[in-house]
Amino acid sequence: MEFFELAIGSIFINNIILAQFLGICPFIGTSKKMETAVGMSMAVVFVMVMAGMITWSVDTFLLKALNVEYLRTLSFILVIASLVQFVEMFLKKSIPGLYAGLGIFLPLITTNCAVMGACLLNIGNEYHFTKALMSSFSYAIGFGLALILFAGVRERVNLGPVPKPLQDTSIGLVTAGIIALTFTSFRGMV
């Protein structure tokens, strides 16, 4: 039950993009076409879960053990960057099909603050391992859900006669705001 509430909460109520403002750049950048949105969502689910597990382990077994928590920012970003590199190399060699789909999104993920943010939140909450895993996964699903819904609406909006100054990013942000507004529907459900 607790896990269920955590999942619902992280996906809908405290959606990592729409309520916590993490990962806005890829959210705006990869939502113009549905295909890219789906690709990015999958890549994020993949990387976020792995990064969540690894950074949790690094934090617990390395930083806390050595009492150097102030190196958290530094070590996490290095872990994520090398993880992304490694995943990219691994996919390229072993699963070319998946690489073709996710490949172009992987480098973008290094600077996706949603990944780093989710890892920091896990540590901040002092979750144990399974919970950290669960929370990373839920955040990633929330990211994907918001991104895909947004891409659907955005495709429609961009086909319309949006006034010139508002075109593209500007109207995209307003639309995202309205989607964030609709997500307030879930308030209070857990």
Partner: protein
Amino acid sequence: MAQSLAKEFTKGLWAEIPPFRLVLGLCPTLAVTKSVENGIGMGLATTFVLVFSNLLISLLRNVIPTKVRIACYIVIIATFVTIVELVMQAYTYPLFLKLGIFIPLIVVNCIVLGRAEAFASKNNPVMALADGLGIGIGFTLSLASLGAVREILGAGTITIWGGSPIFDMSNWFHPFTFMVEAPGAFAALGLMLAGMNLIGKK
């Protein structure tokens, strides 16, 4: 020299002002601009990191091997971010609490890494310094102005560094709280972006 230096500095204030012209670094922009104060704080923290990482990367640009340059940039940036984090914790603790997770996340702010890669690694330290300072101050100004719009409409007042509000219309104005909530952040930034587009590039 002086002219091009001035150019590098001022481009960050208008022609390439983030996040309006250079649509990067949106997360902190949206998250911390609930008030002018937070906006300025975040902007200055980012400026600090930008200036020093730009300077250092530019100094080391001939030493850093190309293959591991991104890793090196990340190490340098992360170091300055952690310094900011610690210093803010020690000296401006309430602000640090408000900005929360977005201080460590400066490390993944595309503006910082973007300037390092696109500018600092190709230019001399003085230029890099001017660029970092310009972009940083531009970013601070943007955050402050967005913060001002949201705070005025959303709260009816502007308060900086505690004390009594420097601007107050709450006696007749019913605060438009939408502006300080998450949806309002997106909408306000979107509309300001449209406003900037309307004014034009020069």
